[in-house]
Symmetry: C2
Subunit: 318 residues, 2 copies
């Protein structure tokens, strides 16, 4: 493993051929924006490239995908973007673990599994790092590249709301907006942060009305259970926005959300309102992530045990 600079990553991309670009499972705006902007950049240079993800790309990100179909080819080069750990390749792990040539990331928890790593832990988004790489390559952005990078930066910062937002995030965003004044950034934001189906909105209300308060009201716990989702006709994957809602009540420091994609499988999101480092807590529970937004999984246990383990891990950090 060798950590490299923005310029070295730019040189790598200019040299590479036939790239498979890996993004993490349960894909979000940042890894999708990273992956598809990189694919577009490599295509601009006349190279074959293909984005691979263990899970389907959610519909609302459809506008970031290329119009041209993706062709199949064996990779001469493997690049991972926004993936801190090979485990996050999901079902693609067996095929690609140990084979990643370049990783571009912003997670402080990156396991440095790739041959070369461009890691900027202070960047708000992997898209912010890639923005610099593309500029170093002298790439002329297309509208699609601009939308990918904007979406990545906006989604990973909660629309410039979270502490990870830095001056560069705003500067790069301004530069994209100046270059592409006709993109409807407001509609991208609406689709990323506001719009919900009526069913999801109703399910959210049910979950919020059953929200638990713990640790002197400094911790909230929301259950996005399999049965509430089924009763309301929504997929637990459509309930993504709910993670941040537990931080709404005054005085709450940690918001826990337990999603149950299938009975007995618990995907936990942990959000920090102020100064609790939830990345550390999740690491102890076998997960990881960012200081203010992290996650972990639990299986083979009851809901009561999930609650107990979570509170036992969170309480000492308050």
């Amino acid at each position: 493993m060798k950590q490299i600079s923005v310029e070295q990553a730019a040189a790598f991309l200019e040299r590479c051929e036939d790239a498979h670009i890996l993004i993490h499972r349960s894909p979000d705006g940042d890894c999708i924006g990273s992956g598809y902007s990189l694919q577009a950049v490599l295509r601009l240079l006349g190279k074959r490239s293909k984005v691979l993800c263990a899970d389907p790309i959610p519909e609302r990100f459809g506008f970031l995908l290329p119009e041209e179909p993706e062709e199949d080819f064996p990779p001469k080069c493997v690049i991972a973007v926004d993936v801190s750990d090979e485990k996050l390749f999901g079902s693609l792990e067996p095929d690609y673990a140990g084979k990643v040539d370049l990783c571009v990331d912003h997670h402080v928890s990156n396991l440095l599994y790739a041959g070369q790593v461009l890691l900027e832990p202070h960047a708000a988004a992997a898209c912010e790092v890639l923005y610099k790489v593309y500029r170093a390559m002298g790439i002329q952005f297309t509208k699609q590249i601009a939308m990918c990078l904007y979406t990545g930066m906006a989604t990973d910062t909660g629309c410039f709301k979270f502490s990870c937002t830095r001056p560069e995030t705003h500067i790069f965003t301004a530069e994209i907006m100046r270059e592409f004044p006709d993109i409807r950034y407001d509609l991208i934001n609406r689709s990323m942060f506001t719009v919900k189906s009526r069913a999801a909105l109703h399910a959210e209300m049910v979950m919020l009305s059953q929200m638990e308060y713990h640790c002197n009201d400094r911790v909230t716990l929301i259950w996005a259970t399999h049965d509430i989702c089924q009763e309301n006709g929504v997929d637990v994957k459509d309930m993504e926005g709910i993670s941040s809602l537990g931080l709404q009540p005054e005085g709450v420091e940690v918001g826990l959300t337990v999603r149950e994609p299938e009975p007995g499988v618990y995907k936990i999101s942990m959000r920090s309102a102020k100064d609790v480092n939830v990345s550390e807590i999740c690491k102890k529970l076998g997960g990881g992530g960012h200081v203010k937004a992290a996650g972990c999984m639990m299986t083979d246990c009851t809901r009561d045990e999930v609650r107990e383990r979570l509170l036992a891990a969170v309480e000492p950090a308050l």
Copy 2:
């Protein structure tokens, strides 16, 4: 009335003495940030200045207020910031109407009632316009001025989410963040956009669960009635954030919220998700505001009449 440039406004402020600074009734982040940053700037120049508002400043904006008490003095000069219409002085209108020397604003609907007007209708916030004026004056920002300007720009753009956000909004924000890296912008955002009292959160859920859908589900109507607020022990003023929630369901184009501060008095907020100009609609109903966020009032009518009048005004615009 004379429309003036940023430089002329800067020269005006350098010359002025004993300023009364007026902000609009039901004060929000932008007029509060505008008013108190201007007070701070004038004080830096050794001038007496005082912010006046018809309504109390909500508690969550307390961090923007100066530590030194405000002294009483008769004004030699009256300045209005973020106030498009003298009516919005509220109870201060009789004392100040016709007496405003300078108005700095960004509302396209500004009635140009002041002696001199610096109007930038494309600015996202009055704070954005004032940022340029202070820079033209060569003012060295203090932390308080920085927090005022950031809060004004962030709140009027829904944290950089709405279509009024322009490249300059991001650039000025980046410059403030670079100059004051220690300000907890994330905590300002949390307090502005996320935090609610448990009572307000509960009242919100009750209101949302009774949300009405009209015009083929393209219009939502939320009632923040006097009785729901009373039952939940919240002030209707604490339910500010609810206006944006009606835009959540897929396909909604206009979100209407009717607040009832006292029985029979209806304050209506109108929000547009995409392309409907709600400023035009509200103007027809005797109100005004921005293209995407506007408001009006109704009295002496029943709730059914309020609904009827609103839908009759909105429907043709869809």
